[in-house]
């Protein structure tokens, strides 16, 4: 393909990738920032979102758009509740000790993944696109649904930004993120906030899953790769920064598309991973600045 159309194609593909990735990474970053814990099970909440979408859409017959809209409504709630429950049952009792939390979320990762294997089964299962329109862009075709994914992600990101910056809830989150002890002294119920944030982080990832399933199919092993990419995005974008996360997601999403084609997909991943290592080593005090580790 000629360079011009090729760049257009790679940018479009990269934007779809970046749209979903920024949602997943944003969920991770929220939990990372406010609760100061690493949620290794984040990718599995994404996967859970995908398989529940499949269930919802196979439950609803008729126009696939109805099932899709229903999923968009129901799936984040179910996934969010699951996360709230696991925080309430497990993480709360560990007092969010960084080491114990990482180990426990690895445990949650395996439990969710294997639970999916038991109930959903080992096969990849497709979900029909809510509308099946192929746009012919002369040099190549592109699915209209993919534009819809980009568009929805932008709307969602704007909504999240509004909530974070303009509402009282957002203020509470920012206060907790800045200094949880002082926030507590001012009467913010920290443990409730943590509980909600953990659920919210998973729910945002689940929205990403609902959007991507009509393109990529649901599979019980699909949580691993987005988790690593989300880590990369969050670390490169800077912790707790919405703009940074989105910018990093676009960078990673685009470069994956472009480097994969010119060189090899593994090289794209190796480079991104190396970049993370460099960022972390240059900031030797750790992700959480100088406050604590």
């Amino acid at each position: 393909m000629e360079l011009g159309p090729y760049l257009l194609f790679a940018s479009l593909e990269g934007l779809v990738h970046a749209a979903v990735l920024s949602l997943i990474a944003l969920g991770l970053s929220l939990v990372f920032g406010v609760m100061r814990i690493v949620n290794v099970a984040h990718g599995e909440f994404f996967m859970l979102g995908a398989i529940i979408t499949w269930w919802v859409s196979s439950f609803v017959s008729g126009n696939p758009a109805i099932g899709f809209l229903l999923a968009l409504l129901v799936v984040p709630i179910i996934v969010g509740m699951t996360a709230v429950l696991s925080d309430w049952l497990i993480l709360r009792h560990l007092k969010y000790d960084p080491e114990a939390t990482i180990i426990a979320t690895i445990g949650i990762l395996y439990i969710i993944q294997q639970f999916a294997l038991m109930t959903f089964g080992p096969d990849a299962k497709p979900v029909e696109q809510p509308f099946n329109i192929r746009l012919d862009l002369y040099w190549f075709g592109f699915s209209a649904y993919k534009f819809f994914v980009i568009f929805s992600a932008i709307i969602l990101l704007l909504a999240i930004w509004l909530v974070m910056s303009k509402t009282k809830f957002g203020l509470i989150l920012r206060a907790t993120q800045l200094d949880s002890e002082t926030a507590q002294a001012f009467g913010i119920p920290i443990s409730r906030v943590y509980n909600i944030v953990f659920g919210l982080g998973a729910a945002i990832a689940a929205v990403g899953a609902v959007l991507i399933v009509p393109i990529q199919q649901a599979h019980y092993l699909m949580g691993g790769e987005p988790l690593l990419l989300a880590f990369i995005v969050v670390i490169i974008g800077g912790l707790g920064s919405l703009k940074g996360t989105v910018a990093a997601a676009i960078l990673i999403g685009m470069s994956d598309g472009i480097i994969s084609v010119f060189f090899s997909p593994n090289i794209a991943k190796i480079l991104a991973t190396l970049l993370v290592v460099v960022v972390l080593i240059i900031k030797p005090n750790g992700l959480f600045g100088t406050t604590k580790t």
Partner: protein, 428 residues
Amino acid sequence: MKKNSKSNLSRRKLMKSIAAVGSISAMPGFVNYSQASSSAPIRIGFQVHRTGIGAAYGRWYDRTTQAAVKIINDSGGINGRPLEIISEDDGTDPKRGAEALEKFANQHNCDVAFGTLFSHVVIGSAPRAGELKLPYFVVSEGHHVASGMLNRYTLQPGITDVKSQVQAMAPFVKDNLGKKVTMVYPDFAFGHDHRDYFSAAFESQGGEIIAKVPIPPTESSFSKYFPKIPRDTEVLYHVMVGPAVLTFVKELGEFYGSKGPKLFGFIDSVEAVDLNTPGLEFLDGSYFWEGNPRYAQDNQTVHDQFYRTAVGVDKNGASVSDPKDVSTYAHMFGCWETLHIIKKGMEVSGYSDVKDRSKLIEAVESMNNMPLSQAHPQGAKIFNGKTHQTFGHQYITKMTNGKLVLAHTTSIEDTFYPDEVDYTKQSF
């Protein structure tokens, strides 16, 4: 996936009986019981992809195996002894595959092991089979058996290998589709066999491979690779495996619509995929290699009819109980045929227990012609005892009105190539 046929002693039951015998220290006395009586079942360890990226193949390999066992047992078993399948998940992972063989040989005291498709699992498991001196019948398509990489205990008598398949495809592609080919294939052993042997065969026919596009087997989105396919490609040769194959073909259709190059694919790209899924309409008119035609053809043999019914597959290649559950029809016949070959080998060699394992291998090695029959519903085969590899007819079908219709059948001779190894010279 739990089966209740009486021929299939479930592993759980077996575990319970082991538990009943007691602790580790009590086990040596237990090991030999199956040899105590001549009517004891013949135990076949079945290595199966129940989980991991090969699960769709595993499910249908399992169904085919159970069906074949039922047929064999209903007609008197092997030397009057019933067959018993002991299955073990390999997780589509080479390390677990090797451990499964250990369980078969040492814990379940199996007579032989069989199964499994993905080449890395076979390559990881075969050395253990050699060390355990456990005959290991694989149904994997890979060229690794005939390449001489494995050992005397590993055989592939029930399914042809990639090298012979692609070699037989090359003339058809050149004569009917075009001379400039771009290949898209998974970036591991199976795909490399395609890359190396198809390009060699195609170039010797006077064709040209203008680009090669490898894709990692764990990839879940494919569009970004398609710009690598040159504009002047006349034929796109595609082969893909893994859980994301449907995404692969859908995105291919999205990218090209009806304007793309002619398509020649290995059915692997759409194996276990319903061809009437929305978005796959662009495949109409494209050609596929099939090990065994998924749709019942007009000239269907009575043997295919029998086999299809026994396994529970309808004339469209889907499960009779669920038309959405499409089989891996192009590959799974290998399990049926392999079990029949084990049966014949055991009968010819007068197999009675594990000390006759080498006699069994010699008996299979001396097999040659396998005519079309109930035991070989896919077609006649010629087995090469030296390379442990079978050779057979290949089918090319054309997607016509949502069905795959037979367009060409190759001769067995089309698939021959010079021997690369003589396993019979290796000692047991």
